[in-house]
């Protein structure tokens, strides 16, 4: 330790001592103040405490509503008559529930739940006893409130879904928040608050929720409210407008009733989703009111999977629907000309493997290969194209990606590639796998939304349109971005569109039976039938079993993608029927009907509503005291 260090140590000691003295002085001030408040002024403050009767209470916000593009209410708020109880203001909760049981019916399960909730909750925060009471029951309770020892009737609001199962997968549903959610945001602890658990309700939860208000109330010695002194209303959540056309959505759901599958209708220029149907659905109101175990088990064990939004979460082999983009890739790469003819003898041999077509087509060029969905033509095309270009064209048309457009839980599907196979299966790519990739089989998986996007991008002249579900949130309209061109040669694109036109409008096309007759409304499409089982050589020799004769789980998936009108395209559609048999038989007729309905309604041409200004103050759920 040198001399200089010694200096600074002395300095430190001096200053530390001075600081301590100063600190003691400050602490002395605190003690003095404490003494002054707690001893000298004790009487004054005791008096104030006894008279103290003003308390701050939080007011729950009203949840924003959800509308379709024409202003139809898809999720609304209904008045909800409920009973609440504040544990700290109730001498004997069991007694109170007994008394309530004399007025209206209280089930044992309900009783148990209330007792448990009351034990868990803070002493002075309200616990919901019953909700969604009939008006008569509510009135009865209202009259008897003085005898109910702490149970208070309240008129609040609750979520209502007027279109129940038609929208279950899009609007989603709300449910009572759980404890960790309440920790995130204290508003959720207010009675009657709900949190979005799925669909749009979940995706834009933050905007729909709103902000709590508060009020100052005068209370009596037991903490019961006597009157309101000051009020700052809650800010209601923002209203949300979707791009959907509810009439079309309901029609699509109805048209697909009885099947398991999905249908997506979108505007090829704006990306607006006009219908996004997934069947079967479920009634979201059940979730809001509290689901019975039976209903829940029924939903979960149903083999048609009503809880799954198949349009965005279902991943299926897209089958021949992707032949369109494969052909386009081949034209772009210059490996195939539109006029070149390939001979289809029903089978392509590669190494030791036979790759089959569904019939012997004889000589086919690109248009006929699309029209008649010839597999052998595309096996040849695939070999010239190679897997890398197949992967690239799929990605450009939206396969293998999520769009994050307004619904949670989108699945990306699979666009196979060399890298993908190494990473996921651990083996190098085989050439045979390139062949079946070109006909949308093998590892390739896509969801119906992606197929609709793919079709839209073909029909709009090769522009990378993105799907859009949210039109406006509150007073803010979501922008429509003009989709960027992907740089395809329009004459090459026209070859593909001609092929698709032939599918449904030329005799021999795979969907000729599902054409639209009306002038100016013709659709052009592509069928897809994807195998879910492997057909063995022995089976093939014995004659392939027809789909109708197989159990449901082993039948082929049926797909159809289309756009219309052919002359001036505006809408794209994709229809998927799980284990429906064949694309032309099961999916195309459905697509035709939904598209026909779309064209008649022509929702893109009609005036949609603008963003809702939040000028209207929705009534806060007022507490009506006894």
């Amino acid at each position: 330790m040198d001399i200089k260090d010694n200096d600074r140590y002395k300095m430190f000691n001096r200053r530390a001592a001075m600081m301590s003295v100063g600190g003691l002085g400050v602490m002395g001030t605190l003690f003095g103040r404490l003494y002054y408040i707690q001893v000298l002024e004790e009487e004054t403050y005791k008096g104030l405490a006894d008279k103290n009767s003003v308390r701050l209470e939080k007011l729950a916000p009203v949840r924003g509503r959800i509308y379709d593009r024409f202003g139809t209410e898809l999720a609304s708020n209904q008045s909800n008559f409920r009973l609440v109880l504040v544990p700290g203001q109730t001498q004997d909760i069991e007694q109170a529930l007994d008394n309530l049981g004399e007025v209206i019916e209280v089930s044992d399960g309900r009783r148990e739940r209330v007792l448990k909730a009351a034990k868990r909750s803070r002493r002075f925060s309200a616990v919901t006893v019953m909700e969604n009471l009939e008006w008569e029951d509510f009135a009865k309770v209202n009259i008897r409130t003085p005898d109910l020892g702490g149970i208070t009737p309240e008129a609040g609001v609750t979520r209502d879904y007027p279109f129940d199962s038609d929208l279950s997968h899009i609007v989603g549903y709300v449910a009572a928040p759980n404890e960790s959610e309440i920790d995130e945001d204290e508003i959720l602890s207010l009675p009657g608050m709900r949190i979005g658990k799925d669909g749009v309700e979940r995706f834009i939860e933050a905007e729909l929720r709103g902000q709590s208000g508060n009020r100052q109330v005068e209370v009596n010695a037991y903490g019961r409210v006597i009157r309101e002194l000051k009020r700052e209303d809650s800010t209601p959540g923002k209203d949300v407008i979707l791009t959907l056309d509810m009439e079309l959505q309901s029609y699509a759901m109805k048209r697909m009733e009885g099947e398991s599958g999905a249908a997506v209708v979108m505007d090829i220029h704006t990306g607006d989703l006009l219908a996004l149907a997934s069947v079967p659905g479920f009634d979201p109101n059940d979730f809001n009111l509290g689901l019975s175990q039976d209903t829940w088990d029924g939903l979960r064990n149903n083999k048609y999977k009503p809880l799954l939004n198949k349009a965005i979460k279902g991943q299926y082999p897209p089958g021949s629907t992707v032949k369109t983009i494969m052909a386009l890739a081949a034209l772009e790469a210059g490996v195939m000309s539109p006029w070149e003819s390939v001979y289809c003898g029903g089978v392509t041999r590669l190494g030791n493997h036979d790759f089959h077509c569904w019939k012997d087509h004889g000589p086919v060029n690109m248009r006929t290969a699309i029209k008649e969905s010839c597999d052998v033509y595309f096996y040849e095309l695939a070999q010239r194209l190679g897997i890398d270009r197949i992967q690239s064209i799929c990605n450009r048309f939206g396969l293998g990606q999520v769009f994050d457009f307004g619904l949670p839980g989108e699945k990306s599907g699979v666009v196979p590639s060399r890298g993908w196979k190494i990473a996921n299966i651990g083996e190098p790519w085989q050439q045979g796998e390139t062949l079946i990739a070109a006909i949308g089989q093998g590892f390739m998986l896509a969801n119906p939304l992606q197929l609709a996007v793919m079709t839209a991008r073909l029909a709009n002249g090769g522009k990378a349109v993105e799907p859009r579900l949210i039109r406006a949130v509150g007073s803010e309209a979501m922008d429509i971005v003009a989709p960027p061109s992907m740089g395809f040669d329009q004459s090459q694109l026209q070859v593909i569109l001609d092929g698709m036109n032939a599918v449904s409008n030329r005799a021999g096309g795979t969907a000729y039976g599902s054409r639209i007759w009306e002038k100016g409304m013709e659709l052009a499409g592509k069928t897809g039938t994807s195998q879910v089982r492997r057909i063995t050589a022995a089976e093939r020799a014995a004659g392939i079993i027809k789909n109708e004769d197989l159990p449901w789980e082993r039948r082929d998936h049926a797909l159809f993608v289309a756009f219309a009108p052919v002359d001036n395209p505006r809408y794209a559609i994709s229809v998927f029927v799980e284990h429906g048999g064949g694309g032309s038989k099961a999916a195309a007729p459905i697509a035709r009907d939904i598209m026909h309905k779309t064209l008649i309604k022509d929702p893109s041409k009609r005036r949609a509503i603008g963003p809702v200004a939040q000028t209207m103050k929705a009534p806060s759920p007022a507490t009506e005291e006894g």
Binding site: D7, A49, N52
Partner: protein, 384 residues
């Protein structure tokens, strides 16, 4: 050969067991008692339930104690060498929070790391003490007051304080500046510069006022006259004073505070927990807690004075000053002596991040105590 001689001689390193025996168990006990008072009050806030606050707080305290011991037993030279990197990291995080921080209560204060939230301002509180201690450790007394050496020190203090104020978090910014200045004074800044600094600071107040946000100004107005708006912003202070005053000498009894239990009192698990203590356990209870705090501060002073290296002395006092500021600001606030700023009552208020930070700081304090005999020559440590 005594323990101190072993360390001073610079011969062999201390073994872990030897360090363990050097832990001051009196301080540990004191910390536990204060935290215990906190658990009791959180139990009362929940109306006589461990859930949701007391049980969580106990878990956090347990984690914090482990942190304390680990920090205490690591060699002091490690902390010294970590000082600048830690400061740089904290500074980066503070800048990062401007861009990716989540907004809580209208202020950007934390970075969301999935399972937990990192508050860079908390990291900075500790990093700044370590950095200033290391910086001044390398300076002679004469150098401290020379402008060329003073400027880096001031930058070390005011850059993070400015960033924190930007968030905006006035309470933490005040803590950082006051803590930093205290270390400057302890390092031996001469009187002339100090006086000049005070003059500049006072004359800057009117300018600074313009930088405050409306809600911060409102708090100051309300502080000056709570009755201006008894049902609005002044509500908290009025209710807090009523609660304290009606508690009297012996209080209304545990779990019996009408102000707190009937929800007149706001934020009683966090900023206003001292009020609840005063209401339920009276002047006796409140004064008892303050005396325990004083004892902790006594330890800080004692550990600083007995330490043989400047780094350790500055760290010990830095921890002490920060701790004292916490206590003072919180207690003075609930009694209406200073404006309402969100500063928790150390070891007692509900909150995980503050708890861990504090116990980390006490770990450093204990570390200084354990390594009090270590000679850290000034000259061997370069400034940068």
């Amino acid at each position: 050969m005594s323990f101190l001689e072993v360390m001073g001689s610079g011969g062999r390193e201390l073994r872990l067991t030897e360090k363990f025996f050097e832990i001051n168990w009196g301080l540990i006990l004191l910390i536990c008692v204060i935290a215990g008072i906190g658990f009791a009050m959180l139990y009362s806030v929940a109306g006589g339930e461990l859930d949701p606050w007391a049980s969580n707080q106990m878990i956090r305290f347990a984690i914090g104690m482990v942190v304390l011991f680990v920090v205490a037993l690591i060699d002091i030279r490690v902390w010294m060498s970590l000082a600048y990197p830690a400061y740089a990291l904290a500074l980066l995080l503070l800048i990062g929070v401007e861009f990716v921080g989540s907004t809580g209560m209208g202020a950007q204060r934390w970075i969301d790391l999935g399972p937990f939230r990192l508050q860079p301002s908390e990291v900075m509180k500790i990093a700044m003490v370590l950095t200033l201690a290391r910086y001044f450790h390398g300076l002679t007394l004469d150098q401290v007051s020379r402008v060329i050496y003073l400027i880096p020190a001031l930058l070390i203090i005011f850059i993070p304080a400015g960033l924190v104020l930007q968030q905006p978090d006035l309470g933490t910014a005040v803590l950082l500046v006051a803590g930093g200045i205290a270390l400057l004074v302890l390092a031996g800044l001469n009187w002339k510069i100090m006086t000049a600094g005070i003059v500049v600071a006072v004359s800057a107040i009117p300018v600074g006022w313009n930088f405050l946000l409306p809600y911060q100004k409102a708090r100051i107005f309300t502080f000056l006259d709570p009755s201006r708006d008894p049902l609005g912003a002044g509500y908290n202070i009025i209710q807090s004073k009523i609660a304290l005053g009606s508690g009297g000498l012996f209080g209304k009894g545990f779990l019996q505070g009408s102000q707190a239990q009937l929800d007149f009192l706001p934020e009683k698990q966090t900023d206003f927990i001292f009020t609840m203590l005063g209401e339920e356990l009276g002047l006796v209870g409140a004064a008892f807690l303050l005396i325990l705090y004083l004892l902790v501060l006594g330890y800080c002073l004692f550990f600083a004075l007995e330490c043989r290296n400047q780094f350790g002395r500055l760290v010990a006092m830095g921890v002490g000053v920060t701790f004292a500021l916490y206590v003072f600001i919180n207690v003075a606030m609930v009694m209406g002596l200073v404006p309402v700023v969100g500063v928790p009552l150390p070891l007692v208020s509900y909150g995980g991040t503050a708890m861990i930070t504090l116990l980390f700081a006490f770990g450093l304090l204990m570390n200084v105590h354990i390594h009090r005999g270590v000679d850290l020559p000034r000259s061997s440590i370069s400034i940068w």
